[in-house]
Symmetry: C2
Subunit: 453 residues, 2 copies
């Protein structure tokens, strides 16, 4: 017995802080979103994969000290294990362990991930991601296909007001040459740039010039005034995607790595133009850096115009070196991940989440207990022709209460069978929306209900 | 850096023991099973619910010592947490925490659960369950509906050779009166009966007469010879469901609790007969006890005729007292759970799992890189009319290799566009199954592919 039960205190039905349930009204909508996304991903030929929630810490790389506060890591017997924090690292394990997978391997995966972050609006410690990745292709067409997939996915969800913002790590990696700072500082600089949306340009500059240790104990960047000036010049570049490309070409002339990144961006832009993906839905955005260390080329983020505060709902990038951790062999890959629960939170916030309280189209009431077998039979018949049908199973004996149940559940049709109806071989069909009742045969009822949706 | 990376040793892409991946060929089939089950559950009006994988140990009741070796329990900060081991206890928390849920509350939930069992064939430490429960109904119609749901679910999966075996805890609770042993020993006796399939009648008798501590440290049952004789007499009752009812009525005459259970079984049988559920698919089986302590009435198990060794694939029962743990209020409930991964393992074993290697219907090859934008455009068009279409993104430049890729993936159509085809405004459509090629317009290709499925 638990302590609470022993002491007679009632047990509180409490969730852990930062975790949530999805009750049916939201869950029905969430499920529709998930199957809509699946359909789009499959339209591009992506294949489903499932991996466990629990993995070896060494495999996830969470046996490093820096991860300590961010993941759920524990000992199970004598094993050091961690709940997965993303779906990309497990993918890299699967690809490495199954050398015979046909490549390019285009896989999608939907599942929960766990992060010990401090909970915020729309951010939980357990949340679902829906990833699509192309493993084993270095073609810029793959990067284009991922952006195309991002666009089609959101469009198919009837979300039209969004911007897919992309950049290229190779351009950012060129910053040290252009702005003249130690190349080794690049990843720390990028993590600062990544905070631009949050802390503003002034905040970023403060971090770049700081001589003090930062919050994770690294030495301050202490960049020179000239370096900071150049970085700010870079961040302040203005214009549409095509104009930015021209400005970047001048700015980074002679910096080989950046020139390669600029060329990749240029090709992506041309492809997107050819595909007629509306220019209001994408743009080259030089402030996109993506915090994660493993990106090597194009990087993507997506913000909803009406809910920018929730952050990116669909992000990713190219990660050509991640799988090398296991195999030593370079397997170029690119992909993106929908933050399903963040997207859901955003849609809920902007009032675009259609809530439903029922999966049933018809409720059959039970007034006369002696007819209950007959009623089970009618339900069976309705279901067999594709009508989702519920039999009233509650304790209310009266018709009125059972109709109130249907109303609360928003079940559109109620079927009433009493002695009277039964004696003439008919049933009473009540349309809850039209507020009318008629005495009909079972077949007539089936036709009426089927016609309604 | 992890230790392996530091020492230059290559990291092994290893799963934890007892865990598995679902690669696409199996995962496509698994996903079809899951959505098929969902459809059946919704046809009965069940509503989706989602709860976290991680919960407070006190809420799951895993802060009891007996659970220590069976679950993944750990400290997260100062909190005692456990990965859920089933979906029923979380349901009871949700119902208790949301008093305003309309009842009866018919919910379904699909998700992973974790148990630290020793791995066996078809049994893993992380596996998916698909539960349906009716909360807030004490009507025997609800129990019937659950069995009906179990039948329809398996039938809709085109599994026909199965037996839903049911019993009633009330009959089993009558055993102590009939066989004259201490009522307090009932749950331990039932746990022994539960092993009948595994250890045989002899093994069960040995446990019933044993005076030694059992493996979880309980005192031996040490039942008298007379008690054991009576229990064996009970277990040896033979006959079809209707005959068993008559024999039970005689055997348990005057044992009120058992008589109530017998009456419930009788009603369920009458309902199933009325619904014309084939009698080869269900039977009253007195050896079904269900190990879990929380069942209070009807209990169900389902075995596949061609794979009995894998155990029950669809089990459940009535649990009228479980939710009381939180609220103190009795909320009668009944439900059942599909062991999705166990079912999958069984289907795989008996060769009834149809594996697929692709979600795409067409692959567009890229031979001439200068046409790649045009090819992206054709893919976009095909997808927009509902044809799942993959663009070849691999590194092979030759047509033959790209066709081999399509063959390996079992993609039924290949589209070839070279300079020649492009100059006459046509594309070449190759049917992989019929091994023929034709020069067609895009519209003709779309029609041919759509007609093929």
């Amino acid at each position: 017995m638990s302590k609470e039960e022993k002491t007679g205190k009632k047990l509180k039905p409490e969730l852990l802080g930062g975790f949530r349930d999805y009750l049916p009204s939201v869950m029905i909508a969430r499920q529709e979103i998930v199957s809509n996304i699946r359909k789009t991903f499959e339209s591009f030929g992506f294949l489903p994969l499932e991996t466990p929630g629990l993995e070896r810490s060494s495999v996830l790389g969470t046996d490093k000290d820096e991860f300590k506060m961010q993941v759920y890591r524990f000992k199970a017997g004598d094993q050091d294990v961690t709940l997965r924090f993303d779906l990309t690292v497990p993918l890299s394990r699967v690809v490495s362990a199954n050398a015979d997978l046909i490549k390019p391997f285009k896989r999608y995966q939907f599942g929960s991930v766990w992060r010990k972050e401090s909970p915020q609006a729309g951010r939980y410690r357990e949340f679902a991601q829906f990833d699509a990745d192309i493993v084993g292709s270095d073609s810029i067409l793959s990067d284009t296909e991922i952006i195309n997939l991002m666009y089609e996915t959101l469009k198919n969800l009837e979300i039209n007001e969004f911007v897919i913002r992309f950049n290229n790590r190779k351009i950012l990696n060129g910053l040290s040459f252009f702005a003249n700072f130690d190349k080794k500082k690049t990843s720390q600089v990028l993590r600062s740039l990544d905070k631009l949306d949050k802390i503003g340009l002034e905040g970023v500059v403060k971090e770049l010039e700081s001589k003090n240790h930062n919050e994770i104990g690294e030495d301050g960047l202490a960049l020179s005034e000239e370096s900071i000036y150049k970085i700010v010049e870079f961040l302040k570049l203005k214009g549409n995607s095509q104009e930015l490309i021209q400005k970047l070409k001048i700015l980074f002339e002679g910096v080989a790595v950046a020139e390669e990144g600029i060329k990749e961006c240029e090709e992506i832009i041309k492809n997107l133009e050819y595909l007629n993906i509306p220019q209001i839905n994408w743009k080259l955005d030089l402030s996109i850096a993506r915090g994660l260390g493993y990106y090597t080329g194009p990087v993507f983020e997506t913000t909803l115009n009406n809910c920018p505060e929730i952050g990116s709902v669909f992000s990713g990038g190219r990660f050509d070196d991640l799988i090398m951790r296991f195999t030593g062999e370079k397997i170029p890959s690119v992909g993106a991940s929908v933050g399903v629960d963040r997207l859901l939170a955003a849609l809920e916030k902007i009032g675009k989440l259609e809530k439903k309280n029922s999966t049933a189209k018809a409720l059959i009431t039970i007034i006369d207990q002696s007819l209950s077998q007959k009623i089970l039979g009618i339900a069976q018949k309705f279901r067999s022709v594709g009508i989702n049908t519920e039999v009233y199973l509650g304790k209310e004996k009266g018709l009125k209460s059972q109709i109130i149940y249907a109303a609360k559940r928003e079940i559109p049709f109620v079927i009433i069978i009493g002695e009277e109806e039964n004696s003439v071989g008919k049933i009473k069909l009540k349309s809850m929306n039209e507020r009318k009742e008629e005495l009909v045969t079972e077949e007539e009822a089936i036709n009426t209900i089927k016609k309604s949706y």
